[in-house]
Symmetry: C2
Subunit: 294 residues, 2 copies
């Protein structure tokens, strides 16, 4: 993050391929690259990337699993560096549209599909690199998409919230070897929820439902959503992210706010996220690791 | 578990007080005590214990929080030993019907209400003992309520299921210091869910919902519900439990079966649970800890 973004890439005179999932982050990365005078070529993942976003840039569409097609398109556009950004949920192996390149790799694909998400992503990253591309982290191109240190909006976490946040960070660290989630909810020292396959949004909806049903009895305005990358996670492929919708859900869940690991969590629409937090009366804060990033 | 049950209690000639929450386990414990020639006195927790069950034994009713009343009733019945058994969800502090004894302890009650369930229960256990009672584990009176080693029904876990189970046990151990849940779901090496405030039933319902929505894509018949006590948990007060309803939900969630830590998880209606498992085509198995109970 401290190095100048241009230095992070090895071929700044070539267009960079941006493989796009859902959400607002792909456009943020493309705009950052263009702002640095770098050409871009967007590869939209069908069913995930936003067509209106892609239309604004040189682009093509691929299905998840079309490794050969993606490789040919990127090479034809003159790209040797590739960024992965945006939301893609773990696909079912039987729903993948595998092309010939992918089919030849099938035994390996089956192998990497066993295990957690990190395992899946690191296996995928290795395949991409063996096909001659250099994998570049989205935040190397667009450092501004990462949560800064401190509060995004006007509100700041209280001492009690910071205690809950530290407990959450420690729990995410402890679960690291198990490749579980990147988010937990802690209220007054008690762990209310741990994210796994359901994702952050559904975990927050669960908190709201449990509160309504009387299963969570802590007062409204107590409790923190804590997000951080898993220790050892390949940060070029999958950083946790938050955005305006996360703020809405944290508010609906009756929590006090969001604490993320600064510099290691993506924020979609930073200014909109800050404005929503202020409007909802919740805090969104980036905290530095006291003992270095995991 | 290996010691004869009668030896586990210090006052076998006196009636034993059984503080009863919900479910089938309170009757199992009362019957086991009666079978050993031990008199019983049941204290039903209003809103939790089953009135039809209590009616079959000498009993009285108390509200959660009526420490003084519970103490007086148990002492008047000649009890010096007390067992806690059955389901009681963490109450809201403002919903407790605190009597004078409890009110005098209020600062302490507030203190023990901060933090996780273990913290709550161990604080409570200490208060009970300071009031002159000896806390006896339900399985000291009724060892048969604990899951035995091996399969309960006809089906047994395959090698793949055992791998998932070991991963689940290791995760529960790793989360121990955080006083989170006692149950996780692992499928093909991937952690699908971690139980926290929602409890096991809702966690299993979530798996079923995620599968229906396409968020969980592993095949039906893959994946294991893993339950074990948290390391360091006071086993006299709160052991994890399963029963026929758990089997139904595991089946609805499309999992292969249930693996619990043998001798450390309570099974409500053992024979009914086994029959349901056979009917549903899922396994329920107790596994011994390879490196001793945590």
């Amino acid at each position: 993050v401290n190095a100048p973004p241009a230095a992070a890439t090895k071929h700044p005179s070539e267009p960079i391929a941006i493989v796009c999932g859902g959400g607002a982050l792909p456009a943020a990365v493309a705009d950052a690259a263009l702002g640095q005078g770098r050409a871009v070529f967007l590869l939209g993942l069908e069913g995930w990337a936003d067509p209106d976003t892609l239309r604004r840039y040189p682009h093509a569409w691929v299905k998840v699993g079309q490794l050969g097609r993606g490789k040919r398109l990127a090479a034809a556009a003159g790209c040797r560096e590739v960024v992965f950004i945006g939301t893609v949920l773990r696909p079912a192996i039987r729903s993948l549209r595998l092309d010939w390149t992918a089919l030849r790799l099938l035994p390996r694909i089956f192998r990497i599909f066993r295990g957690g998400d990190d395992h899946l992503l690191s296996g995928f990253a290795q395949m991409v690199q063996e096909h001659g591309f250099r994998l570049v982290a989205a935040h190397e191109v667009a450092p501004d998409i990462l949560a800064p240190v401190g509060a995004l909006g006007k509100l700041t976490p209280a001492a009690r919230d910071l205690e809950d946040a530290e407990r959450g960070f420690a729990l995410i660290d402890a679960m690291g070897p198990f490749d579980v989630g990147q988010a937990v909810v802690v209220a007054d020292g008690r762990v209310l929820a741990v994210e796994a396959a359901e994702g952050t949004d559904r975990m927050l909806d669960r908190i709201a439902a449990l509160r309504e049903d009387g299963r969570i009895k802590s007062a409204r305005g107590v409790g923190v959503l804590v997000k951080a990358p898993k220790p050892g996670q390949d940060r070029r492929l999958d950083l946790p992210s938050i955005g305006p919708a996360t703020v809405e859900r944290v508010n609906a869940a009756g929590l006090a706010g969001i604490v993320v690991r600064a510099g290691a969590v993506q924020v979609a629409d930073l200014s909109v996220t800050a404005a929503r937090a202020d409007a909802a009366g919740v805090f969104v804060a980036g905290l530095e690791a006291t003992r270095g990033p995991a």
